[in-house]
């Protein structure tokens, strides 16, 4: 009896309206809720934008872009130094935005392919160790971000397990690709910078980001694909469609909302990850992602600039929530809570 109300049949046919709460109690409860959510969510989020714009729109833009002085302008040395410092800061901020976007561009497609493969193998087939596999896919959720960074330091760092092998490996920085022309050789492009080793380079940041964003796509796909079963796929296959065609024309359209949501959640986390990235970045300026840049600006007492970078990430969070609402309307389930909240639920 106690288990009955929670099952779907009872939910589908709600009985009489619930007995009303006493008006006085009701008022207290609503007031508590509004006050709690205002103090802990509304004000902090509004504060990000308020602080970012506290010195006006001009100052907000100057964090990201400082124009060159007009031709022939006369600047005294102090002004010139100030301008150069500002341009330097803006360039660092931009480089953090570029790096973060590049990391997300690497991490998200890899996790999408993995998520689709994992969801397909876990939901379309029954095999030994299947629930263990599902548990292992969830594992990164229960690991502290700092530990996620730590394991890569222990694996790839100087004294790490693979340290002796990867420590001297030199690889080119993709951002330094330059047009050299045909004067020297038949090949016109060249890299002007390179990295040595893996840890404390953008590659390590990408690895750590993959680790922490690992389960998102798989988690948003697995429950949905499990509910849908494989009836439609079997129908398509028995009518002679190939496996790939079945996947592209039957499975993919069925899970498109969940996939979109997994991608959004994965990229939001890839943009916002702090702990894991902080550990493997080695506090080097060129390795700063946006959250690390926020920390550096905060430590330099440049609050308004820190909040400006933070406001960009907050906008991303707002977009995530809006897409979550659209997906919820289309699929009838709260995906974000299903993905984040089910860390241990199986």
């Amino acid at each position: 009896m106690a288990g009955a109300p929670a099952n779907a049949v009872a939910a589908a046919a709600p009985g009489t309206p619930a007995p009303a709460t006493h008006p006085f109690v009701r008022r207290i409860l609503v007031a508590t809720t509004v006050a709690f959510l205002t103090l802990f969510i509304v004000i902090p989020v509004a504060n990000v934008f308020a602080q970012a714009l506290s010195k006006g729109v001009d100052a907000y833009v100057r964090v990201l872009h400082v124009a060159r002085p007009p031709e022939g302008a006369r600047l005294n040395p102090a002004e010139r130094r100030k301008l150069a410092a500002e341009r330097d800061q803006a360039e660092k901020t931009w480089s953090s935005i570029r790096l973060t976007a590049a990391i997300a561009a690497i991490v998200v497609p890899l996790n999408v392919v993995f998520g689709l493969a994992a969801a397909w193998s876990v939901t379309k087939f029954r095999f030994k160790g299947r629930s263990l596999l599902v548990a292992l896919i969830d594992l990164p959720f229960s690991v502290s971000p700092v530990i996620a960074g730590l394991v890569f330091v222990l694996l790839l760092g100087r004294n790490g397990v693979f340290g002796p092998w990867v420590g001297n490996w030199t690889w080119p920085d993709p951002f330094s690709l330059h047009w050299r022309g045909f004067a020297l050789d038949w090949w016109p492009l060249e890299f002007t910078r390179s990295f040595t080793g893996v840890i404390f380079t953008p590659l390590a940041i990408a690895l750590a980001s993959i680790f922490v964003t690992f389960p998102f796509v798989a988690r948003s796909l697995i429950p949905l694909m499990d509910t849908q079963g494989s009836g439609e796929e079997v129908a398509a296959l028995s009518l002679g469609a190939s496996g790939w065609r079945t996947f592209l024309k039957v499975t993919l359209p069925n899970v498109k909302w969940a996939l979109l949501y997994g991608v959004i959640l994965c990229s939001a986390r890839a943009f916002g990850e702090f702990g894991a990235v902080s550990v493997v970045s080695g506090h080097i300026d060129s390795n700063d992602t946006m959250p690390l840049r926020i920390e550096k600006l905060w430590n330099e007492y440049n609050n308004q600039a820190a909040f400006t970078v933070a406001s960009l990430l907050t906008l991303l969070a707002v977009v995530t929530l809006i897409i979550q609402m659209i997906v919820e309307r289309n699929t009838g389930r709260n995906v974000i809570a299903a993905v984040e909240g089910e860390e241990t639920m199986r």
Binding site: T21, I41, V48, L133, V151, S230, G275, A306, G341
Partner: protein, 324 residues
């Protein structure tokens, strides 16, 4: 009976959990198992299992005395105490307020309810560094909320000054309104409350939404008062979901790093959390010590999750057993 047993397991726990139900699978017809499973295992082991194994491997290289010496260091012990204490307080606060919020969002319509409902997921979507930044600017002594008393006193004096009365209040007359967070670890708790806020709400909400109000009407007609209904009819039904929400909030808070380091004082032995201890040791290139702390943190958080999940499983089982 068998159906009841199936419904008592995972599917009931959350709306999406329904999915984990076995259907008739025609595994023989659907292709792609070797490819997808092979890729899944390759990717999983390359990026998650081998790195985690590296940590276990490095721990195995530690001598027992070295391990014990690291973990028993007073500074490290203090950081563990702070991490677990603050996480527990934050989880309990979230347990109380999360229950109220979930109840109001499901049962008490008020203007703006949909907006507040959507806002609950913000802590999931907002990067932790941003959360730490904005909370530390708000709740520390010089922030809007942290210095509320000083701000109010200041503005009253300002208005009085404009009206020509001079200073009405001394600057610290309303200091009881200011939160004395600068030298305490209350800021850590506050930001951990934010981080864990959605878990309890989002686990309790679906249970309340699917709750059949017939039971309340039945209890009312049998002469039970509101308080009895709440304690004897509704709360037992919510309890397992509430407990698992609590466990999730607690587990998330233990591992939290990004938001806490912005607001905490980060003084060794006083206001450093355990993840920060790991980072500090890493920055000093003391890898073995960092590993030791990491292993303890990982083991403790997994153990607590396991324990609370076991408790929850027991509660659910106990309950269905009593109902039969």
């Amino acid at each position: 009976m068998s159906e009841n047993a199936a419904a008592g397991g995972a599917p009931q726990r959350s709306p999406a959990g329904k999915a984990f139900h076995s259907r008739t699978h025609s595994s023989r017809l659907v292709p792609g198992l070797p490819l997808t499973l092979g890729y899944t295992l390759f990717y999983l082991s390359g990026l998650v299992l081998i790195p985690l194994a590296a940590m276990v491997f490095k721990t195995a290289q530690l001598s027992w005395s070295e391990f014990w010496h690291t973990v028993n260091d007073p500074i490290v012990v203090a950081s563990f105490r702070l991490t677990f204490g603050a996480s527990a307080i934050a989880a309990i606060v979230n347990g109380v307020f999360g229950l109220i919020v979930a109840w109001v969002l499901v049962r008490e319509p008020f203007p703006g309810r949909r907006l507040f409902d959507a806002l609950i997921d913000f802590p999931f979507a907002l990067p932790t560094a941003v959360a730490g930044l904005t909370f530390s600017s708000l709740y520390l002594a010089n922030g809007w909320i942290g210095g509320l008393g000083r701000h109010i006193a200041g503005s009253i004096n300002g208005v009085a000054g404009l009206a020509g009365f001079g200073e009405v209040l001394s600057a610290d007359a309303l200091s009881w309104l200011s939160f004395p967070y600068t030298n305490t670890n209350a800021g850590v708790v506050i930001v951990l409350i934010f981080v864990g806020l959605p878990f309890v709400v989002r686990t309790v909400q679906p249970v309340l939404r699917d709750w059949d109000t017939e039971y309340e009407h039945a209890a009312l007609s049998l002469g039970a008062n509101r308080w009895t209904i709440l304690c004897r009819v509704i709360l037992p039904e919510i309890f397992p979901a509430w407990l698992s929400g609590l466990a999730l909030a607690f587990a998330r808070a233990i591992g939290e790093y990004g938001s806490v380091i912005f607001i905490a004082g980060n003084i060794p032995g006083k206001s450093q959390i355990a993840p920060l201890q790991i980072v500090t040791k890493l920055d000093d290139f003391r890898y073995s010590q960092a590993t030791a702390i990491g292993v303890v943190l990982l083991a403790l958080s997994l153990l607590i999750l396991l324990a609370i999940n076991g408790l929850e499983w027991w509660a659910r089982r106990h309950e269905t057993g009593a109902a039969r």
